[in-house]
Amino acid sequence: MGTTTGTAAGTRDTTGSPRSRLLGVVTLLAVAVLGVLAFVLTDPDVRIHPTTGEEFGQFDAVRMLYVHVPLAVMTYLAYGICAVASVGVLVKRTPWWDVTAHAAAEVGTVFCGLVLVTGSIWGRPVWNTWWEWGDVRLMTTLVLFLMFTGYLALRRTTDDPRRQARRAAVVALVAVLDIPLVNRSVEWWENRTLHQRSTIGELKIEDLTLFTLFFGFVTAGLVLAWLLLHRFRVGWLEQAALDHGVAAAIAERHAETDDAEVLRSVGERAAGEGTSGDGEPGS
């Protein structure tokens, strides 16, 4: 993120704009403040058992949640944007929606991968396992991640751009509609295991803890916004570069065919053979 802030308006070959640079600076500041809040100002989660007097809780592992939970929420937001944009692709059929959907899916998948990794790292000390099969959110997020891995794989295939846009939109919509089913099925499934575990709700909530979590949401939101904006612009440029390529290819095709030569090679018939004026080639 830092790279944009350093770029002055001198070069215009960039996806940055004055406003996006401001956003970048604010985002970096927010990340720094979040770091201070999460590691310096907040206390570890230590609770005293009412009867035995034993210390328990998540201790310092709770600090992982200040990044994990906001990322998870923003993952769902990004995929939500992707779903809305996918509807736009199918209804409006314009590149704008397609580029937006692709950007949201890619950024969302980066976030989703981080959510899974941070969740796993947090789960190891707290749940005493890297992976908890019975957890609804964990499993749902994993399936979502796998679905959008497929989505991005589809995006990487060479295909007619318009067809690819629609195929990808269908995949995104099916994924999003399937998610409630995944969620519900894992939830029922989990009831079978009745796994005892810590959740956010059981945290010793202090004002500062809550504020830090809230600030985490803001920060993750800013990061998401910055990444989406720039990913969109990259996609937009890719689209423009390809369109530009098409225009160039048309010109090239016109230049490379010597009409007289072609007519000679195909035979003498044809020229002036009653195309009744409608056959006039365009400029």
Partner: protein
């Protein structure tokens, strides 16, 4: 609605007739599914008790893997010799086309299940405790698999890498179907004490959602 169902049946009849003649699913996919059951047996190196416990899950994994092949076969029918172009030129509604293809895939998936249940009875020594639940859950899950499979088969067709892309697209979507159908079979085969009928309800919702989405999205895929 009349001509519409007629068109869907026209396509389903075509696909089933082709399968009846070519027997690709019967001669290649069905043996593959039984092979999967056998391989699970080898891999688990298990006695009947273990196999009975895991039978429902292994059954549905075998169904999904075999269904992938059946779906690929179904999608391949309309790629050869310009048939895809001819279908677009025919004016056949994409919804009817989807329902027809899905019906044919459904029949094949159910046939697979029948063979695989036989495999469970013989190879894994399971006992059917609730035949009605087994049949209903199998049929409902079959609808979900056929609907999602047909949609993604059409989606992945025409891509250079379709064979490798289909599983990664299709299998995550079928995750809830796998979970639900396995739980329902747990109950039906007495492998675990769960309420198979409520799981079948979940399967029904999945089947409905996937069929409706598949039918309405199919047009966006086959149109240019």
């Amino acid at each position: 609605m009349g001509p519409f169902l007629r068109d869907a049946w026209l396509v389903a009849e075509r696909d089933l007739r082709i399968e009846a003649r070519s027997r690709v699913v019967l001669h290649q996919v069905v043996p593959f599914s039984v092979l999967v059951l056998v391989l699970f047996g080898f891999a688990l190196d298990a006695d009947h008790r273990t196999l009975r416990t895991f039978a429902p899950g292994l059954f549905w994994v075998a169904v999904l893997l075999s269904a992938l092949l059946a779906v690929q076969r179904s999608a391949a029918l309309d790629r050869a010799d310009g048939t895809d172009t001819a279908l677009r030129m025919s004016g056949l509604s994409p919804v009817a086309l989807f329902l027809g293809r899905a019906t044919a895939v459904f029949v094949q998936v159910v046939a697979l299940q029948v063979v695989l249940v036989g495999g469970l009875l013989v190879l894994y020594d399971v006992a059917v405790e609730d035949p009605l639940l087994l049949v209903v859950a199998g049929l409902v899950a079959g609808v979900a698999v056929a609907a999602a499979g047909t949609l993604y088969g059409a989606l992945a067709s025409g891509l250079g890498v379709r064979e490798t892309l289909l599983p990664i697209l299709l299998l995550p979507v079928l995750a809830p179907v796998l979970i639900g159908a396995t739980r329902a079979f747990d109950d039906a085969l007495g492998a675990a004490a769960v309420d198979g009928w409520s799981w079948t309800g979940l399967l029904a919702v999945a089947a409905l959602v996937l069929t409706v989405v598949g039918a309405s999205a199919h047009g966006a895929l086959v149109e240019d």
